[in-house]
């Protein structure tokens, strides 16, 4: 089932804590969004899941098996890193064959078809690829890997709008074709919001929120209007953030249904914030 469990996970680099007693359980077979600001610990988390770095404390298991130096478990995971870790002189086609050695489920015909569709020249050397094509190259390996768990760290870095759209569609088609666990770490929240099933937000090395996207969006709302009336409305409510412009104020409230009658009597507008707005409100401190 590819259930990923992280228990009391900590990672320090020297004196700097990157992850701090982090707990997270991902049931698997879903598309997850891993969101966090720069330095929140997203890449550290992915490096730990794939045993690229050793935790300072805590446990990481996949289906109950510890991941550390466990080739049997790690062979079920494909990690598309943000940095290009492939040897520069290697040609794209060679990198595909090389990946097939490690991932028996690798589909060469599918990888070649994707390369054709994205206009990736498989005869090129990895070091000759532009930022965008480097992302496309790595994403193709990830999608064709056949792995049960696919981690994508900033998969659309440097891609133009057309290729980003193509890649999001391909991620969905691939996931529907071969159900798997996909974790997408990205800063482009608006773009991925609708393709995610669950969202995990990490901040300062901890998980501050983990929920189904739809449930999260339905449990948050924005209230705006004349400031003193907005203040009156938010009494006793979980208010995340506020924006002010002279006498106007807009706040985001998490958890709890809007009191439409009260809002109406105070002449306030109720709206729905998008995932990106909510993310900013949750991590803006």
């Amino acid at each position: 089932m590819s259930r990923i469990e992280l228990r009391a996970l900590s990672k320090r680099y020297g004196q700097n804590p990157a992850l701090n007693q982090l707990d997270l359980t991902l049931e698997g077979q879903k598309i997850y969004g891993l969101l966090g600001r720069n330095g929140a610990g997203k890449t550290t988390l992915l490096n730990l899941i794939t045993s690229k770095t050793h935790p300072t404390a805590g446990a990481i298991t996949i289906d109950g098996e510890p991941v550390w130096e466990n080739d049997a478990v790690l062979g079920r995971v494909f990690y598309m890193t943000e940095a290009n870790l492939y040897p520069g002189p290697l040609r794209v086609r060679e990198a595909m064959k090389w990946t097939a050695q490690f991932y028996p489920g690798f589909r060469m015909d599918y990888a070649e078809e994707l390369a054709r569709r994205f206009g990736l020249d498989t005869k090129k050397r990895v070091k000759e690829l532009s930022t965008g094509y480097s992302s496309i190259f790595k994403a193709i390996l990830a999608l064709a890997s056949g792995a049960e768990i696919v981690l994508l760290d900033e998969p659309v870095l440097g891609l133009d709008a057309n290729h980003r759209e193509m890649l999001y569609r391909e991620i969905l088609a691939n996931y529907i074709d071969e159900p798997k666990t996909v974790i997408i770490s990205t800063h482009l929240i608006d773009e991925v919001a609708d393709i995610l099933e669950e969202v995990v937000i990490i901040d300062k090395g901890r998980v501050i929120l983990h929920r189904p996207v739809e449930e999260l969006l339905e449990s948050a709302y924005a209230v705006s209007g004349e400031s003193s009336r907005v203040d009156q409305y938010i009494q006793g409510r979980n208010c995340l953030s506020e924006e002010r412009l002279q006498n106007f104020k807009s706040v985001i409230i998490l958890d709890g249904a809007p009191d439409r009658a009260l809002a109406k009597s105070l002449d306030l507008e109720i709206g729905r914030p998008e995932l990106q707005k909510l993310f900013i409100a949750l991590t803006n401190s």
């Binding site: 759209e165 999001y168 569609r169 969905l172 088609a173 996931y175 529907i176 609708d194 393709i195 099933e197």
Partner: protein, 125 residues
């Protein structure tokens, strides 16, 4: 089929309404096959669970039905059902906001009725 991603409505409800709109406009006549949740998910770039939820909403309301192993079809009588449902919501979704905006702008009842009449298509003969 189009979704308005800025709308306040959850995506699965928007999807259900977009399919209903296509049925109302005759793009999807009764007894024709509708796109699969896979096709909807990839085309609209939405999570397949969301697409399934939207389609299931219409199955529950008897607007779509499943043919085992074939796919999803527009039910006979779907058009009538959608119209009935939308009419019931018309006052809440269209008339009340119209009146609220008119009030904000000091548009009188007389002016409002005159505007509605102006917007109506010319009656024949």
């Amino acid at each position: 089929m189009r979704l308005d991603f800025d709308s306040e409505q959850p995506i699965y409800i928007q999807l259900a309404e977009a399919i209903e709109d296509d049925i109302l406009k005759g793009i999807l006549p009764e007894e024709t096959q509708v796109p699969s949740t896979t096709e909807l998910s990839v085309m609209l770039k939405i999570n397949p669970a969301t697409a399934r939820k939207g389609v299931n909403l219409l199955v529950d309301e008897g607007i779509l039905y499943k043919k085992r192993g074939v796919g999803m079809f527009v039910a006979r009588g779907a058009l009538r059902r959608i119209k009935k449902k939308r009419r019931a919501e018309f006052y809440q979704s269209f008339v009340l906001p119209l009146l609220a905006e008119a009030q904000k702008l000091d548009v009188s009842m007389g002016e409002l009725i005159e505007m509605i009449e102006r917007g109506l298509p010319d009656e024949q003969d």
